[in-house]
């Protein structure tokens, strides 16, 4: 048995406490019949897992989970239940026996299998010893960015990330196709009819929206150096736009960012990402091999001081490539989330009115 330092035991305690909290919240989600309660509990579930991810040394993932799980998924789920009754039907207990038995047996088998896994934090486990260790050792000399998660995400596994960006784009287009593309004539009452009782909200939102957008840009361009990157920044940026829609009305937001523009930006992001890869191919490298992003004669003329340090000069292509694809990711994620929100929000009002006319 290895003697672990005291700090590990403290973080193990934190780990156990947070996981027990997750279990309690999960139990509450399974038990509750109110859909609204289930959605809010799921938001709490995401927030607790974000805290847990920080304990597990994964600040980048925690960031994403906090923004996506507690923010965007809650908004999307709330948009979906606006259309339905708020409660699920009381389940017949006889219908619960078979699922409970299946879950108990599968869970038992998985726990039995988990007994063979290496213990938590084992540095010699297969997951940590081979490719993970190699990324840690070689990022400084290969890529030259301090945040190794960004290095793996954007450079070593840039092709995976391109695929994932394309999936997000495809999902956004899928939602737009199912829920409708454009604004409807009967969206929301014009602002003049709203009265002035939301004045506090509007003033607060006007102050918050630019700050949220600024923070998104900080997260975007700080992604090489610390926790952050295009995915997180894209979701934060879309939160700023959704906040605008919630406070000032969907009509106003659709006037500022028309749905057609949002969809075009989503495809533009994927194009920028793939375009960076193709530029690398034109200059003699493989697809998304950023070392070939600039032809050698141009790269030789780039002074090292641009990156603040001559030691970084050999990785100029990597820095520029990561910056380029992260901008593509930012555009696609922001525009897709906005398109999805437009789909749900636009549909709900229209549908409720049609229902009322019947």
């Amino acid at each position: 048995m290895i003697t672990l330092p005291a700090s590990i035991n403290a973080s193990l305690m934190l780990d156990i406490v947070l996981l027990v909290m997750l279990l309690v919240v999960a139990g509450a989600i399974v038990r509750t019949r109110s859909l609204l309660a289930a959605i809010i509990l799921f938001s709490i579930y995401s927030l607790i897992s974000a805290v847990w991810l920080v304990v597990m040394d994964a600040p980048d993932v925690a960031f994403t989970e906090a923004v996506v799980g507690a923010g965007i998924s809650t908004i999307v789920l709330l948009g979906a239940i606006l259309l339905t009754r708020g409660e699920t039907e009381k389940p017949d207990w006889r219908k619960l026996i078979a699922p409970a038995l299946i879950c108990a047996s599968v869970g038992g088998l998985l726990i039995y299998a988990a007994m063979g896994l290496p213990e938590l934090g084992d540095p010699a486990s297969p997951a940590n010893a081979h490719v993970g260790r190699a990324y840690l050792q070689r990022t400084a000399s290969d890529i030259g960015v301090p945040n190794m998660v960004t290095a793996v995400l954007a450079s070593y596994r840039g092709l995976d990330t391109l695929g994932e960006t394309a999936v997000i784009f495809a999902a956004g287009i899928g939602v737009a196709l199912m829920l409708g593309f454009g604004p409807r004539s009967s969206l929301a009452p014009p602002p003049a009819q709203l009265g002035d009782h939301h004045v506090t909200l509007r003033v607060a939102a006007k102050m918050l929206i630019p700050l949220i957008a600024l923070f998104a840009l900080y997260v975007q361009f700080h992604g090489d150096l610390g926790a952050g990157g295009g995915f997180q920044a894209g979701v934060i940026m879309s939160v700023a736009i959704i906040l605008h829609a919630l406070v000032f009305g969907l009509r106003e937001t659709m006037a500022a960012i028309p749905p057609r523009v949002a969809r075009s930006i989503a495809s533009l992001g994927v194009l920028i990402y793939a375009g960076v890869g193709i530029v690398c191919m034109i200059n003699g490298g493989a697809f998304l091999d950023y070392d070939y992003l600039f032809p050698p004669e141009i790269e030789a003329q780039i002074p090292g001081w641009i990156l603040g340090d001559d030691a970084h000069a050999p990785h100029w292509g990597q820095h520029a490539g990561i910056l380029g694809i992260e901008i593509g990711v930012l555009l696609t994620v922001t525009a897709t989330m906005v398109t999805v929100f437009y789909g749900f929000a636009g549909r709900t009002v229209d549908d409720a009115r049609r229902e009322a006319r019947r």
């Binding site: 290895i2 003697t3 330092p5 700090s7 996981l19 997750l22 279990l23 999960a26 989600i29 399974v30 959605i39 579930y45 597990m56 040394d57 994964a58 993932v61 996506v68 789920l77 979906a80 339905t84 699920t88 389940p91 619960l96 699922p99 879950c103 726990i111 007994m115 896994l117 213990e119 938590l120 934090g121 540095p123 010699a124 997951a127 940590n128 490719v131 993970g132 260790r133 990324y135 840690l136 990022t139 190794m148 998660v149 793996v152 995400l153 596994r157 990330t161 994932e164 999936v167 997000i168 999902a171 899928g174 939602v175 829920l179 995915f231 894209g234 979701v235 897709t336 989330m337 749900f344």
Partner: protein
Amino acid sequence: MNFLATHFNYIVVVILLMAGLFLVFSSGNLIKRMIGLAMFQTSAGLFYISLGKVSGGTAAIAVERGSAEAQALAAQVDPAYAAQRGFEGVIYSNPLPHALILTAIVVGVATLAVGLAIAVRIREAFGSVETSDIEVLSRVEATQPGPQA
């Protein structure tokens, strides 16, 4: 007892996965099912991150060698443990699962939106998102001749 401490994460993740799976199987409400699916997805992420944790490690963001921060982080590691495992200086957790799960979370919310959009369309066609109602309604529709028939 020691086994429970070292494998606690895996056991909890399995229970959370099964809670999500149970919701997908047992709930008649399509939106509740999507919540179960999202829970399943999040829990699978927790499993990956657990596998990537390294004892004594810190976040995979490189600290400059020899800086005060690096010395402070390295000082927290037990020297006997570092020597036994061949570590030098700061220990980092495995960045690979982090990169995989980071993108999976964002893809997860996009697919959740697609599932919910389908639920919204089903609600518009049948007036309900309860599977029991939908089954009854689709049976009624099958027995009645449609306008094209």
